[in-house]
Symmetry: C2
Subunit: 340 residues, 2 copies
DNA sequence: GCGGTTTCTGGGAGCGCTCCCAGGTGTCGG
DNA sequence: CCGACACCTGGGAGCGCTCCCAGAAACCGC
């Protein structure tokens, strides 16, 4: 970026608007920022001048002078390729955008990769954004803590394993899983297993805890656990493992629909009818959960709402509101379909 | 955004780095911008000072002083909700990000909605970004032309119907469709129809033209055309329409896989076997094209490459390179599966 | 009518950087 | 030994805005 981008874009400056409207810079600035203490007369003159001159304020100057960027970052700390096609990401993005619309806040999308973490941190802390939303954390990613300690307002999507005290928003994975477990019990299943998510992710741990709680409160053993990594293949492998360990399984809670799809195939291959022989409950309510064979009973989480809530929480903090909840859990809902 | 965000983030300034390194501001600036004419001694001293002080440059100040934002915008001019879950968008985003990685250029994601177009334009032209990538255009959207006339470097994804002279990158829809048509001819189909995309989108028109060319060069009539709007439902409706008009159809080129999925269902419902009775060729090579029943023969377009190429073209322009092609068409590939 | 308050206005001083220019120091050829 | 030309360095002047302060004008009640 050298030559061409150096050409200064023309367009009028605040000064010229002021002259055209017959007022001072300060007054124009007040109008633009919708501050009080401007006479209707001045206000209209300024609006008129802005319109006729086609003025648009220089954001960099506003940021520099006002030490406010009017932008927030959405930081995706994961391999870009994997995340972008993920409906979770798309849903959050939709929510963030919905919450942002109408406000004059821009969204900067950043993806951390191996190696450029320092660049990312330096950019975020460099004052180009007012705050950050961080999603898709692996394991004990130190990023939230680092950013938080650097004084950057942030909200994490999904409970971070590292970084206590950092505000986050998450689906209520524990209670969702608990509801799934209760549902399996309530439809008369006696030998209930679970396919849990990765052990190094909070979402995996919380859903496993919920299932365990459900088993314990029903007086059932809570040891039929296999682990996957949120892929259909891992779900299939875990299902095979479970059937090997106990062929009498008649109910299984799978901690993610994407794994449940793999599990369904394995059950089919083993001649198990769903839900007659084995009842299956998933989690997430993916689009494909409704069209799987059989359609999947699952726990719905509202990812768009997650994005909205994260954004709301961040903007609230930036606005200096007090009484904001440190962290939030969003309710989930049992969606009954054919598989359980 | 008032109170909290006004707190000036601490951290050292360029000035302090200069003092710590025992050099001037100018020298520090040169080191940061990797300019020549700095002694190794100074350079190392500055690097050391930056590291120990944890200095990170203020982007707003750089932008203001240098009239260069080090950021580009990805503008999605469509309803946010629809686009974000679209694999096309995800693919482009992945490509853009891949091409950007390693360079110090940030990506600002913007979605235009009804009404806030003026805000969007004012932001883009306001100097907060150096250039823009614009995708997902409807009909004769005037946005590219407007931005281009405002002097903003931009590259459009997909041939824009309005705005000649605006550089764009697109898949070679014409030749892709031509290849599809030729394939249908080559597998011995004699009565070949097409389900075209929306008439107000270049992608729809170009694919239709390609199919027409294929029909004409094979000496076939090119009048079995029905239109859809890139939804499965519209594909189904168009297929029904075509079968009504000519039950003897034995080949159909569907201008988008998403519509082909709907068409397949209709063919099945009408008792037509695919490909025995009717051969079907799609376009796009969606993930679900490989798993449809039967798996869909289709024309693959590389959307990630599209994103990469757009970005490369824009960055090239920003760097003042000359000899850049005004516009580019990316090759497509016939993927043979079971449906044709 | 006068102090006190509220409303409104303008100018000055930066925000933290990059660019430009002036000048210093070294190296080389004549 | 001196000019020419590299190389390297520092300071000043902004970039275009917002904030702060001082002050003018309008309004109030007693």
């Amino acid at each position: 970026m050298t030559d061409a981008s150096r050409i200064r874009r023309p367009g009028p400056r605040l000064e010229e608007v002021a002259r055209a409207a017959g007022v001072s810079r300060s007054t124009v600035s007040r109008v633009i920022n919708e501050e009080p203490y401007v006479s209707t007369r001045s206000r209209e003159a300024v609006h008129q001048a802005i319109l006729t001159l086609g003025y648009s304020p220089n954001q960099a100057a506003r940021t520099l002078a006002g030490s406010r960027a009017n932008a927030i970052a959405l930081v995706v700390s994961e391999q870009a390729g994997r995340v972008l096609s993920d409906p979770f990401f798309a849903g959050v993005l939709r929510g963030v955008h919905a919450e942002l619309s109408g406000r004059r806040v821009q969204l900067v999308l950043m993806m951390s990769q191996q190696g450029d973490e320092q660049d990312l941190i330096s950019y975020l802390v460099g004052g180009h954004v007012d705050g950050a939303l961080v999603i898709s954390l692996h394991g004990r990613d130190p990023l939230p803590l680092t950013l938080s300690e650097a004084g950057l307002p942030l909200v994490v999507g999904g409970r971070p394993l590292a970084g206590k005290g950092v505000p986050y928003v998450d689906s209520d994975n524990f209670n969702g899983a608990l509801e799934a477990a209760r549902h399996l019990v309530s439809v008369g299943r006696t030998c209930i297993a679970t396919i849990a998510g990765a052990k190094d992710m909070a979402v995996g741990m919380d859903r496993l805890s919920g299932w365990r709680r459900g088993m314990v409160e029903a007086g059932r053993p809570a040891d039929l656990v296999a682990y996957g990594d949120f892929t259909p293949e891992s779900g299939a492998a875990a299902m095979r493992d479970l059937l090997d360990r106990n062929p009498g399984i008649d109910g299984v809670f799978v901690a993610a629909d994407i794994m449940a799809l793999g599990a369904l195939q394995v059950l089919h291959a083993h001649g198990k009818r769903v839900p007659d022989d084995v009842a299956v409950v998933g989690f997430d309510d993916l689009v494909s959960a409704a069209t799987s064979v059989p359609p999947l009973t699952t726990i719905r989480q509202d990812v768009e709402q997650l994005g909205r809530t994260m954004t709301w929480r961040l903007l609230g903090e930036l606005a200096g509101e007090d009484g904001l909840p440190p962290s939030l859990l969003l309710p989930t809902a049992l969606i009954k379909r054919a598989s359980a």
